[in-house]
Symmetry: C2
């Protein structure tokens, strides 16, 4: 469940969200999103937890892979086609891995 | 609950963990860790959720701030002084913010 990411370079997309009430087909969308991500080139793993606040981290080999993933997922996660029905609020951050921990 | 981070540059420390059984003073340690982080220079916010897997993201202004924080927190989170009693497994990643999302 802790993603076993490879040696760097790699990138993370942190998706933080507060959901709306009810399922509204969210589970089906989320399952499909995870399944599709796994099949994308450059996919390295994910970590996810929700406790009121939801945090999902996807790990990718390159920025190019993230761009391709986003292009592919646009119809699933774009605000215009459903963001409002699933999320009260959300934030997406793209980050580049720097180090395991700093000494 | 979604951290309202400022304009970049900034950094994230993603701490992913699986806990051991029981509290073992974990809650007290975690509360203290959050309180102390908030008082450190360069602290920008945090996001946290646990659902089996726990994900906590701390946001910081600079790598220097993360180094100082780590030096300060060593007695709390270093494996030798307690990691094993709280965590079955954990991983810490330091990342640099790249973009809001890629177009």
């Amino acid at each position: 469940m802790i993603a076993s990411t490879p040696s760097p370079p790699y990138y993370a997309v942190i998706f933080t969200s507060l959901r709306t009430e009810g399922d509204n087909d969210y589970s089906a969308m989320a399952d499909e999103m995870f399944e599709r991500a796994k099949q994308q080139p450059g996919y390295l793993g994910f970590e996810s937890a929700r406790e009121g606040l939801g945090i999902t981290v996807f790990y990718w080999r390159s920025l190019e892979d993230i761009k391709n993933w986003k292009a592919n997922e646009r119809h699933l996660i774009a605000p215009k086609t459903g963001g409002e029905k699933w999320y009260e609020q959300y934030k997406v951050r793209v980050l580049r891995y720097k180090s395991r921990y700093l000494c």
